[in-house]
């Protein structure tokens, strides 16, 4: 053990001091950047330094944490104290999308966007009470490891790996895509180059040290991302209300938003529930459910709790995780409210195509970077002339709030400019967004590579592989998966990005029943678990793919369950007839129109595609219970095994050979 603990014991007892110095150093760095900016160092250089310095720190931590020990590589030696594991989980959890996109979604959807805030926090209650402590006692290296031990064999393991891969891979592609976008915007790199720069940043953190390195870089990344998120919110709150507590002053912001919205003649208020973006009450609550249950099933989150020293620490660690996540998530609605208030104020001050270049030049810069980001009067707001032309065409003389369309993903990144903050804050926000995306990508890549190397290679292909070969295989797979993900990201796959939110439904339907019943209901047997996982996952996948890629067929098959209005049904029939009657060269266009319309009405009881687990989850549970009841009860040994994981005392159930 002498080699495993080299730096380990000392390191863990000094954690507070090390990260204290690190946090102080980061704040000093921000101040230094502010000074450099004030004495005239160009923005481009400031951006480079923010991104370069933070990535350098992560790389140094990654290299210092390199290891050749299996236990260190897979579960960080199970020595991570609860509070630090909580911070690491926070970074692991909060993706580029949470950081960059969530406040933007809240800005656009108002109350209805809060489904994401609730869903992505409440899931931790399920993690703590139903799953994490028991998996920790079991002593797995991966989630499929548990499925295999509990449900007797490699079939359950293999299905677990398939679910894990399908929910984690699209997710990791989106993270690499986000790092590419941020690097491209703030470093001025070509997107294709930026993606591979992001990839290098991810690999230095995870390849040499596995879970151990990822843990300690994630703690560092949490500190960067939370500072970067809080500062602009505190800034706006101070400027607008004089009180530097945005969460508290959000009430004032909401009151002002409502007043300004009324003055603008906007009928749908920010705080009105169940009216934005097609979220009626049913979809609002189902989305919360899917996100919560998905949280409790995502392997890259669950595996963080394998690293704590004890079951007791695993429970406390979930509480710390949620606290650290909460700090960002209860700031997000305030962030959105202050950004919206700032925009409404801007509009209320009398915005016209003539003065927009002076009042809000940032809109044109963002629109010039990507036409879809800012649209005014329905056209890309690339310059004052384009805005004037579009508004004249639309008959608008004074630009109202409703005439401006901001993309959800740019709002956080553009807020510093929107609220007139110095460029240093923009650089800081970029570094924070990058930290969020990198840390999540690290966790996901490790989850995928570990499942492939530990579950597929070691457990299913070569059980006699020596430790050194297992570690080499893990690293090779990690690099291969990372390169594949970066390649997919570099093709800018719009569909993949939309699929990210599917990960929650897939994980929920495919894994949650098997994990929960495996601990809480002894009667669950292998046949039941396998049937339930397959059925739940299949129903969920069918709904996701059917409503999106086979909408016409899906609608025709299930038209009885669709909530389409009479006009929508008529429109479908008309489009269908038009497609059938179309000349051969017009068929394709007619089909696109038909398919697009079908996507809006292909559903079961009006449930959005995003909440597919609303069907997969109950199907998974029911099939698992019914099939288990119809087949033999688990053996005596299996029941003893379950007894064993239910109590914290004693060794982990599964002891790995670690030498």
């Amino acid at each position: 053990m002498a080699t495993t603990t080299s730096g380990g014991g000392d390191f863990t007892s000094n954690l507070g001091r090390i990260y204290g110095i690190y946090t102080g150093g980061f704040i000093a760095f921000i101040i230094l950047m502010a000074i450099l900016s004030a004495i005239g160092v160009p923005n481009r250089i400031i951006g480079y330094m923010f991104v370069g310095f933070t990535i350098l720190i992560y790389a140094v931590i990654g290299i210092l944490s390199r290891t050749m020990q299996i236990g260190e590589y897979y579960v960080a030696g199970r020595r991570v104290p609860a509070i630090y594991n909580g911070m690491a989980t926070g970074a692991d959890w909060m993706s580029g999308a949470s950081f960059v996109g969530m406040a933007g979604t809240l800005y656009l959807l108002g109350y209805d966007g809060l489904a994401f805030v609730l869903g992505w926090t409440g899931g931790y209650v399920l993690v703590a009470i139903l799953v994490a402590p028991y998996l920790r006692k079991f002593g797995a290296y991966t989630v499929p490891d548990f499925l295999s031990a509990r449900y007797g064999g490699n079939l359950a393991r293999f299905i677990g790996v398939i679910v894990l891969f399908s929910c984690s891979f699209t997710y990791v592609v989106a993270q690499i895509y986000a790092t590419g976008i941020i690097s491209a915007r703030f470093l001025g790199l070509d997107f294709n180059v930026a993606v591979y720069v992001g990839l290098a940043g991810i690999l230095v953190c995870s390849m040499l040290g596995g879970m151990r390195a990822v843990t300690w870089t994630q703690v560092a990344q949490y500190i960067v991302l939370i500072i970067a998120y809080l500062i602009p919110a505190i800034w706006m709150s101070t400027v607008k209300t004089g009180v530097p507590i945005p969460q508290l002053m959000q009430g004032t912001a909401l009151a002002n938003i409502t007043a300004l919205e009324t003055a603008q003649g906007i009928a749908v208020n920010h705080v009105t529930p169940f009216v934005h973006g097609g979220y009626n009450a049913l979809n609002y609550f189902l989305l919360i459910l899917c996100l919560m249950v998905g949280t409790a099933s995502l392997p890259h989150v669950l595996m963080r709790y394998f690293t704590t020293p004890s079951v007791r620490e695993a429970r406390v660690s979930v509480a710390w995780s949620l606290l650290f996540i909460f700090i960002l998530y209860f700031t997000a609605p305030a962030y959105a409210a202050f950004a919206k208030w700032t925009m409404l104020d801007l509009v209320a001050s009398g915005l016209t195509p003539e003065n927009i270049a002076d009042k809000a030049g940032w809109m044109m810069r963002w629109a010039a970077a990507d036409n879809a980001l800012v649209q005014i009067c329905g056209k890309a707001a690339v310059d004052a002339a384009a805005i004037a032309a579009a508004c004249t065409e639309a008959g608008v003389t004074s630009i109202g709030f409703a005439n401006i369309n901001l993309n959800a993903d740019m709002i956080v990144l553009a807020t510093p400019e929107m609220a007139g903050m110095p460029y240093v804050i923009s650089g800081l926000v970029a570094a924070g967004g990058l930290a969020a995306a990198l840390s999540t990508a690290d966790g996901l890549l490790l989850a995928i590579a570990n499942a492939l190397s530990h579950d597929i290679y070691y457990k299913m292909i070569d059980q006699n592989a020596p430790t050194s070969r297992r570690l080499i295989v893990s690293r090779i797979l990690l690099v291969l998966v990372a390169i594949l993900a970066a390649y997919v990201a570099s093709t800018k796959p719009g569909d993949i990005l939309a699929m990210v939110s599917w990960a929650f439904s897939l994980a929920a339907a495919g894994l949650f029943p098997a994990l929960v019943l495996g601990v809480w209901w002894k009667r669950t047997n292998s046949a039941g678990a396998i049937a339930g996982m397959v059925a739940g996952f299949a129903v969920c996948l069918y709904y996701l793919l059917g409503t999106r890629y086979g909408a016409v067929g899906f609608y025709e098959m299930w038209s009885g369950l669709s909530t389409a209005s009479a006009e929508a049904v008529q429109k479908f029939a008309d489009l269908k007839a038009a497609w059938e009657a179309a000349a051969p060269d017009a068929k394709a266009a007619a089909w696109v129109a038909l398919d697009k319309h079908a996507q809006t009405i292909a559903n079961w009881w009006g449930v959005k595609n995003l909440s597919a687990a609303a069907f997969g989850l109950p199907v998974g549970f029911i099939v698992m219970i019914v099939v288990s009841m119809l087949t033999k009860e688990p053996s005596r040994e299996m029941q003893d095994f379950i007894e064993e994981i239910r109590i914290p005392k004693g060794k982990t159930v599964m002891e790995e050979k670690t030498a």
Binding site: T121, A319, P648
Partner: protein
């Protein structure tokens, strides 16, 4: 394996789990079903229904988890199954 103490341990653990799940359902779903009526009350400047979804329920979740970790630990200790 199933000594009386183990049975009582598991019963207590399960009861705690159901209590936490009930609270989770309440703060995750039930309270938000009344958002319309709650919004007519103002709480530190927020409409209360909005406040519960933006902050109130989240605070409840965090507190719940720390309380849960503590309660479950004392159940462990009472039944002699806590880790050393």
């Amino acid at each position: 394996m199933a000594s009386p103490d183990r049975v009582s341990y598991w019963n207590k653990t399960r009861n705690l789990m159901f209590i936490m799940l009930a609270l989770w359902v309440f703060f995750g779903y039930v309270i938000h079903m009344f958002v319309g009526s709650l919004n007519s009350i103002t709480f530190i400047g927020f409409p209360l229904g909005y406040y519960m979804a933006a902050q109130g329920s989240l605070i409840a979740f965090v507190v719940m988890l720390f309380v849960f970790a503590r309660k479950q630990n004392s159940i462990d200790e009472d039944h002699g199954v806590a880790e050393d």
